[in-house]
Every structure is written in structure tokens, then in C-alpha cells.
């Protein structure tokens, strides 16, 4: 099959629309993506090399050195209420947090995209069914989903992954569905249909290549929020369980001693979560500028 009618570029914007925003210079976008990628690579490497990098055993409680401040000799970022080295716990904690966020993002992006592609390409009835199901999924606040999974499975890491996936899938489905519908109406798809292309040919050869950019952008944007959310769930006590070092748990354990004026055990893991989440956001934004150079979202 040589006859693929996919356009190389997007259709030009219709006249009479508000002027597109000035394109951010390619250099700036590149710088943003580079910084984000470097940060992410740094944190991934840090987690992978945790056994080598961490100066102490993350669970080693040394009663003689409780509540050391940042910069204390031997403990660069101080120690917590049990005398555990905060830096070592941060390094080890990245493992669970990053894996949970990446797995959950990938799963929800794939599930949501499949639902959206099938719904968008196979007639009104299927589309109606899928989108109504999605509507019902929207009717559950995330925290309720998490509590329900927690009571079924018992608190733990799977609860975090499943509840995130359940709550993110409806969003992914809606976004991708809108995009699929848009592409489905374009002439190149009509052309392929009129040439007798089958369902899968249209899906994989025509539509998917043209919505993949959006999917990747949206999926990347999800990761940051998921790191943040999973840390909150673990802090609440229904996510990652002790003694596993985890950023969210470190925050909630630190929360118990903040009243005594020891703010670092809670402050530092929160800052790390913020930086990692921001890095994924920058990456997502940067990728959008790469995939969507016309800046259809006016006024960003």
C-alpha cells in the first residue's frame, strides 16, 4: 500500500483567526527541553545508582545524630527524627516515586489512547458508549478511587498506580478523542476511506501518526502531576508503606515533627518532588512547541 494521504504538515490556519502568538525561538524551546531532560536524566541516574551514591543506609536509625540541620558534618542534608540520613533517603526514595509515576503515566496514556482511537474511528454508537463510560469515571473524585482500591487491595504501591490510572484515563481519552475526531474529518482520511482502506490501516497509517505527537505531549505532562499525587497518597498513609524510603512518606513523617521546629525532614522531600514535577512539565511544554509549532493554543 503506497497510497498514504497523510499531510506532512498541518493545514494552514484559516484566515480571520486571531494572529498566532509569536513563536518562541527554537533556541529557547531547545534550552528548556535540554534543561528538563538533564534534570530528569539526573534523577533517573540517581535512583539507578542509589546503592553507590547514598552515603548511608537509608533505613539506618542512628539515635546519636537526630535532627541534624542542613550542612552538618557527615550528613550533608541533615538527619530526621530517628537519626536517618536525609540525603540517602532522598536518593533511595526516587526509586519508588519515579517508577510509580512512569508506569502509571504510560499505562493511562496507552489505555486512554486505545479507547479514544477505537471510539473515534468506529461509529457513533461505540463512541457514545466509550464516552459515557468515561463520564461515569469522571464522577469519582481521585481520592475516593484511591480509598476504594486501598480497602480492596490493602494500602500499598499498587493502590497508587491503579487509582492514578483510573483517574487519568478519562482525561487522556477525552483529549485524544477530540484530536482523533478532528483528524477523522480531514480530507486525507476521507481519501484513504474512499480508496478502500480498512479500519486498522486508517488507524495505524493515517490517524495514529497524526495524533501521536499530542499523545506523547499529554502523556509527558501527566508524569509530573503523578509524582506529586503519589507522594500525597503515600503521605496520607494509603500509598507506599514503610520502611520503604519514599518522598511522600518522608513528607508525612517529617510532618509529625514540624511542630518542634524541625522543618527540614518535611521540607526537603517536598522540594525534590516539586523540582522533578516541574522538569516533566517543562519537557511536556517544550515537546508541545516541537510537535505543534503553529501554536494553536493562542495566548499561551
Amino acid at each position: 500500500m503506497v497510497l498514504t494521504a497523510s499531510p506532512k504538515t498541518r493545514a494552514p490556519r484559516p484566515p480571520g483567526r486571531p494572529a498566532p502568538r509569536r513563536r518562541r525561538s527554537r533556541l529557547r524551546v531547545n534550552a528548556q527541553v535540554t534543561i528538563a531532560l538533564l534534570l530528569i536524566a539526573g534523577f533517573v541516574l540517581m535512583s539507578l545508582l542509589a546503592p553507590v551514591l547514598a552515603p548511608y543506609d537509608p533505613d539506618l536509625a542512628d539515635g546519636g545524630v537526630k535532627y541534624l540541620g542542613v550542612g552538618a558534618p557527615g550528613h550533608l542534608l541533615g538527619t530526621d527524627e530517628l537519626g536517618r540520613d536525609i540525603l540517602s533517603r532522598l536518593i533511595w526514595g526516587g526509586r519508588t516515586s519515579l517508577v510509580v509515576a512512569l508506569v502509571a503515566s504510560l499505562a493511562s496514556t496507552v489505555v486512554g489512547s486505545v479507547l479514544a482511537l477505537v471510539a473515534g474511528l468506529s461509529g457513533d454508537r461505540a463512541a457514545g458508549l466509550v464516552m459515557r463510560t468515561v463520564d461515569i469515571m469522571f464522577a469519582f473524585p481521585v481520592i475516593i478511587v484511591a480509598l476504594v482500591f486501598a480497602v480492596i487491595l490493602g494500602p500499598g504501591t499498587p493502590v497508587v498506580v491503579l487509582s492514578i490510572v483510573f483517574s487519568a484515563v478519562p482525561y487522556v481519552t477525552r483529549v485524544v478523542f477530540a484530536e482523533v475526531k478532528l483528524q477523522r474529518g480531514r480530507e486525507y482520511v476521507e481519501a484513504a476511506v474512499s480508496l478502500g482502506a480498512g479500519f486498522f490501516s486508517i488507524l495505524f497509517r493515517e490517524v495514529l501518526p497524526n495524533v501521536l505527537g499530542q499523545i506523547v505531549v499529554y502523556g509527558t505532562g501527566l508524569v509530573g502531576g503523578m509524582i506529586v499525587f503519589s507522594s500525597s497518597l503515600s503521605a496520607l498513609g494509603i500509598g507506599v508503606q514503610p520502611p520503604t524510603a519514599d518522598w511522600g512518606r518522608m513528607i508525612s513523617e517529617g510532618a509529625k515533627v514540624i511542630i518542634t521546629g524541625n522543618v527540614y525532614p518535611a521540607l526537603l522531600p517536598g522540594l525534590v518532588v516539586l523540582v522533578v514535577a516541574l522538569a516533566f512539565n517543562w519537557l511536556g511544554d517544550g515537546l508541545r512547541d516541537v510537535f505543534d509549532p503553529h501554536g494553536r493554543r493562542a495566548g499561551r
Binding site: 464522577a139 473524585p141 481521585v142 495566548g299
Partner: protein
Amino acid sequence: MGTFKHILWRVLNIVPVLLVVSVLTFLVGRLTPGDPIEAQFARDHTPEQVEVIRASYGLTLPLWQQYAKWVKDLFTAGGGLSIAQGQPVFDILLPNFANTLILTAAGVVICAVLGVVIGVIAGINHRRFPDRFAMLFVQTGSNLSVYWFGLVLIWIFSLWLGWLPVAGMESRNGGGFGDLLAHLVLPGLSAALISTLVLARFVRLGIVQESHSDYVRTFASQGVPRRRLVGKHIGRNILPAVVNIIGLEIGTLITGVIFVESVFNWPGIGTQLVNAVNGKDYPLIQGGVILVALCYLVVNLLTDVTVDALNPRLRR
């Protein structure tokens, strides 16, 4: 009459969703591995007594009868008995649910006011310094963990500056409405954080897009002052969408509230539900889920009706 029919239609639309929600919630108790009755009572009861207790919870009936009984209990028996506490579920949950609603309401107010203010400031200063600053703030804030943000607020405003109470809902010796408000500020701010920023982003985008439209340009060319243009014309046009966003954000807000309750020791249902999870007290969880879901659906209904009322193009 048309409006009334429309509202009725919206109400009827909730029914299938409620049905699905209730069936799923009901199944939660049945999907739970392990036997909570066994776990709770086996130690100090004979197997025969455990069976009697099991029957008293209706767990020996066929599944659909259990569902029917459960739904009936929701209306007549306070949602059934809590396994851990032996009292009707709603008797345990409702007093705290009221506190949760107070915090949620505070969150909605904070979200609406702050979100619109930030959005308008950014929108009318599009691409100038206040806009850039506000957007930096919004981007950073959207990536904050609600739980952690609450802690940082406590650290700054309660421990460091000493302006506001650390936690709880009222001072030890009571203190009336002003005291409640003082206790509401920090948890309300933290719970509303994410929704506020979503709304701010949205209001800003709305203003920027509307200012490019023909009617705004026409008014501007006729010398209508900018304050009036933004306040009266643009504001009126994006109002339905703003109300809609606030309604949709209630789910995020409820999630925020439950996180925040545990940070601020707020006596709401969040803490109760987390404890119920750890104790596998599923009747309590089911009751809580139904309460929150119902509340969420009612808010969505009210939002839809308000949006319709605000949008003259939808009136017939």
C-alpha cells in the same frame, strides 16, 4: 416551562450514574479479600456465633438481595453498621461530613475569588511583567503537593510568624465565628490550591481570547473604558464557562480537602475514611464513598443548571 423540563432532564440524567456508582460501591465490600467478620469477631466468639453475626450483616443472602438490602439500609438504617464501631455508618460519618463541607465551601470561595483575581490580573497584562510573574506562580503552584503545601503554610504562618492557628477547627476554649474563620484560612488555601490555579489559567486565557474578538475591538474603538470592557462585557461572556470550571473542579477540591484534613487535624471524614481503610471497615468506606459521590453529583447538577441559566443562547 421549558426551563423546568430542562432541569428535570438534568436530574434524571443523574439516575444512571448513581446506579452505577452504587453498584460499584456495593461490590467494594464483596471484592475485599479476607473476611472482615472473621477478623473482627473470630477471636472471642464460637464459629456458630460468627455465623449468626454474619447473618445479621446479611452476608449469607444471594448477591442481588444483599445489594437491595444495602440500598434499603442506606435510606432506612443509616447505611448499615460499621464493623469496627458497631454503630450506623451515617451516625459516625455525618457530624464529620458537616466539617468537611465547611472546609470544602471555604475552598470553593477561595478558589473562585483568588482564581478570578489572578486570572484577570494576568489576562489584562498579557505578556507583560504581571502576566509572566503570575504564570510562573501558576506553573510552580500546579506542581506542589497539596499535603506539602499545607505543611509549608503551617511552618510560615503559624510557627514562624504566629499569625494563624496551627491546626484543628476551633480554639480550646471555643471562639465563635471569627475563630472558625481563622482556622479555615490555611487549610482552605491548601485545599483550593490546584483548583485556584486551574481557574486562574482559564480566566486569563478567556480574557486574552475575548480581547481579540470583534465585539471587544468595536467597543474599544468607540472609546469604552478598559475597566468597563473587561468587567462588563468580557466578564459577562466568560462567566458561564467560569462557573462551569468551578463546578468541575469540585472533585479536585474534595481530594484536596481530604489530604488537607490529615495535615491540619481537621475533624472531617477524610481521617475517618483513612482509618476505615486500614481497619478494613468497608461499610464505613461505602457510606463515605456514597456521601462524597452524591455531593459531587449534586454540585455538578447545580453547576449545569447555573451555567444554563447564565447562558442566554441555551434558553429556548
